[in-house]
Symmetry: D2
Subunit: 112 residues, 4 copies
């Protein structure tokens, strides 16, 4: 468990600037290498694949529990055998530490 | 309940042609008008919005149950207050009656 | 679909008496015969069985959606291949029409 | 995180004896003190309470993911604002280490 995964999401304050690409790149090293920066470093994304829809939904609901507890919610693309997870912080129009905290928590959800 | 919602998905047979745009347009009249043809009539899509993520996931899991029972699975985009549902039939590289049968069943899931 | 399944749960008013055993027995004829009166007609219960835990949880989440929409919540016993659903109305210390409305809606959830 | 939570459930072999009450009592010290031995040390049980049914089901689905991944399934009692989790190992007619491994994993699911 990395230090990031043990942190909690903080309430977003209006006016906070988003992470710079350099800050984002540094935090990216603290989560699974499967996460990538997208949208000019305004979001992070990880793709998960599964054997069937039952296993996909089991994982989706585990992700949802993290979102509910942290009150920070990803955008998900979900289909028969996949779930793609994207985090961004709308309130700062880019990435915040919250996105990486949640990514680190998602990394702890067991896959098999 | 429309006749469509009472039908069951049929196993897809290889070599079956997809619905023509005309056939798709006709079946589209038998589901909620919120469904639209997309991708040159290769898929149908409906957008749902919700008050919060708990209500979104409650609906997503109800959709998942329809998918599990019919063994025909949508592609979903899911976020804090929305779920977009897309049906297509990969085996025929376009739309099949199964997509409309499932759309009609999704229409029966209560929203409030 | 029975008339009962098309009704909505009503807010419980304090002081409302519970259904009499005779009233409960009459409403019981309008839901699946798999529902039984228990606890001296203070609750109704139906047992469902499934092939595995994935299918059980798919059904449990479909039941949960009905509960969320109706704002009337069952007590569930859930294990690997079973889900037992019990409805009672705590506010009236017995059965109300709400319990049968929800039972009728649960009866509409597809099982296979 | 205790060592127990990092272990995996092992396939149950027929003929394996259940844990003795002494062995069970020792493993019980390695999980949350909210777990109690029940049924003459044939099962362990922990009660969780929540603010509403949405939060209850979010937790229930997180528990279900642990069960799916470990292929070891609890018995759950679930209602509006509670979830009671019971583990036993039917194959040994009593407790096995698997029950405590899963209990330790359940202890890691965040509650708030």
């Amino acid at each position: 468990m990395t230090a990031l995964a043990t942190r909690r999401c903080k309430p977003c304050e209006g006016g906070t600037p988003p992470l710079t690409p350099e800050q984002a790149a540094q935090l990216l090293t603290q989560v699974s290498s499967a996460w990538t920066l997208i949208n000019s470093a305004h979001a992070i994304r990880r793709e998960f694949s599964f054997r069937d829809f039952y296993r996909t939904m089991s994982f989706v609901n585990a992700v949802a529990h993290v979102a509910n507890i942290e009150d920070h919610h990803p955008d998900l693309e979900v289909g028969y055998n996949y779930c793609h997870v994207t985090y961004t912080t709308h309130a700062v129009r880019g990435l915040s530490e919250n996105d990486f905290v949640c990514a680190a928590k998602i990394d702890l959800i067991p896959l098999s």
